[in-house]
Amino acid sequence: MLLQLINVEKTYSNFGIETVALNDINLSVNQGEFVSIMGPSGCGKSSLLNIMGLLDKPTKGEVIFLGDKVSQSNSSKRAFLRRNHIGFVFQSFNLIEELTIYENIELPLMYLKVSASERKKRVGELMERLHIAHKSNYFPQQISGGQQQRAAVARALISKPNLILADEPTGNLDSARGQEVMEMLVELNEEGTSVVMVTHSSTAAEYSQRIIHLFDGQLVTENLKRVTN
């Protein structure tokens, strides 16, 4: 098992106002799975993804990542796990606008201390594969949204993570670009990377094996879509 959440609760408190974003969530993700999370706005999808990605700590409950209890680990331990095992794809791409596409994708390798020649090789191959090699020296603002999201996916992938977390990766794309990105995620998933994706789109969710429905911070249903061998 890659990731397990046990009785996870998340409460935000701002200026004395408490918002319960997640309530008693039990959930696990196996290596190689493709899971979608769906639900109405404000039901806690992003909160759940943040906890799964070790970006945020649960208020209560336990998170087990690769066999380790990590819900209360310190920030450098969690940064280490993110750096080595988790890739993120955001709705708004979040490429760093001062860096070229090439440099954005290369970035995670730089703090993994991968040698320059190895970086060059891996980034080049991946860009080739995601059909953005010709945009290598462009800056994010200079290329289309679809290309930006592919670059963001490439950046999430470059460190060969076990898990990719995507928060509405197609949310800012038209359906054709959205489909491209989904096909790419499926392809990665078929190569063994686990994918957890938040989405509003049932078309996008169709690509996954399992759909988790959230409502008001609670897990309502889980349906199996597709079975892998």
């Binding site: 940064a79 750096r83 993120f88 606008e97 001062e98 290369e106 730089m110």
Partner: protein, 409 residues
């Protein structure tokens, strides 16, 4: 593609290339400007201070030697006790390491009297060994007394203050009453008028022939009031003082100019408190600007910080990005500031951009005297301090939750 190995340095270098479109680039320019002005003002303050100090000290050396030797007495005596020019110290001074010149002097209290006015004074008698070059810079009218006459000279040089007080001009004759028992009087002629700007001298000292004092004191030609010793390098005063101490005859006592005129040599006494306040304010402003520009840069880039955290960068790595950026501002500011200070100093010394009224100050233009080690130290101190200040705002990065940073983008 020349990619730097260090992640933080790399990102920092790219942030800079993308300047010109953010609010922070305006603030950055203000910060660079304030650092530049800050360092320039500091360097100039020290250089002008050094210039004043140097000028004032030169004035002092024109009437007081680096080291003074006279008969050692254990109680204050009004009358000078003579020492002999036959003493080893005087005869062999040139052999003492660091000593440049030795000359005799004698002092005698007197009262100057014209038909209208009276004024107290001290006559400083000098001999043929007197190095008048140093003193002559202070002459504003006439010339130095002629010491080559066969008999003692009755010429004197008076200060401008005394000349004004007694309404004396060049060539005027007046009576000098020497205070002794019984009092004696001599008629003398004003040969020159000097001005040092230092009241201790200008209110009191007139220059005359030492032979006149010898005669009045009933001394022979080997008897003098004391010796004035000049040394090669004023910075070596303490060392040479020891050398003189070792070489001198036991009946003598010596003292340093820095002790006799302490108020002109003590750095801390001279450094006006207002100057210190101004310097502290400058540092404070520069530090404040660096803090605000760094804070603005950080808040402008919450999105990037959040993304970097999500990708697994450590807080330290992200913090370094902003520290590097700050360092770049500091270096830019320092280079500019140093150029500004050196440029201004050069122009001031060449063209006297800021003149002074010599009657109120001791010189005609603001003096600027650079000292490489002082400039270096000022820069180093500035860097250290601003770097320290720069660390403060970067600590808030650790408190950024990655999700929040991304969420609010």
């Amino acid at each position: 593609m020349g990619l730097s190995k260090d992640f933080s340095l790399f990102v920092a270098s790219r942030l800079r290339e993308n300047k010109g479109k953010n609010f922070s680039s305006l603030i950055a320019r203000i910060a660079v400007g304030s650092i530049a002005i800050g360092i320039a003002v500091m360097i100039l303050a020290f250089a002008i201070f050094a210039g004043f100090k140097h000028n004032i000290q030169e004035k002092i050396f024109s009437l007081a030697s680096h080291i003074q030797a006279k008969k050692w007495v254990d109680s204050y005596s009004y009358e000078e006790i003579p020492v002999s020019t036959q003493l080893d110290l005087y005869q062999n001074a040139a052999e003492i390491p660091g000593v440049e010149h030795i000359q005799v002097y004698s002092r005698k209290a007197c009262i100057l009297k014209t038909d209208l006015e009276v004024s107290g004074a001290v006559m400083k008698g000098v001999g043929t060994d007197y190095d008048s070059a140093r003193f002559n810079k202070n002459l504003i009218a006439g010339s130095f007394i002629d010491l080559d006459k066969k008999n003692y000279s009755t010429e004197i040089v008076v200060s401008n203050n005394i000349a004004k007080r007694l309404q004396l001009s060049l060539g005027d004759r007046l009576s000098v009453y020497f205070v002794q028992d019984p009092p004696r009087v001599r008629r003398v002629t004003v040969k020159g008028i000097y001005e040092t700007g230092i009241e201790d001298f200008d209110d009191l000292i007139i220059i005359g022939d030492i032979r006149l004092i010898q005669r009045l004191n009933d001394w022979d030609s080997t008897q003098v009031g004391g010796f004035e010793i000049f040394i090669d390098d004023f910075d070596q005063l303490d060392v040479v003082f020891e050398n003189v101490w070792d070489a001198m005859d036991p009946e003598l006592g010596i003292s340093k100019v820095t002790e006799m005129y302490m108020q002109f040599f003590d750095w801390f006494i001279m450094l006006n408190r207002n100057v210190v306040v101004v310097l502290v304010v400058i540092l404070f402003v520069a530090g404040f600007n660096v803090i605000s520009v760094t804070l603005i840069m950080i808040t402008e880039r919450t999105n990037m910080i959040g993304t970097l955290k999500a990708l697994g960068s450590s807080n330290g790595q992200i913090r370094k990005i902003f520290v590097y950026n700050g360092v770049r501002l500091i270096v830019k500011g320092l280079v500019l500031g140093n150029l500004l200070a050196l440029g201004f100093g050069f122009l001031q010394n060449q063209f006297k951009l800021i003149p002074l009224d010599p009657s109120n100050y001791y010189m005609d233009a603001v003096p600027v005297m650079f000292d490489t080690s002082v400039i270096l130290l000022t820069n180093l101190g500035f860097i250290a301090l601003i770097l320290l200040i720069l660390m403060i705002p970067t600590y808030i990065i650790a408190r950024f939750q990655p999700i929040k940073a991304i969420r609010f983008s």
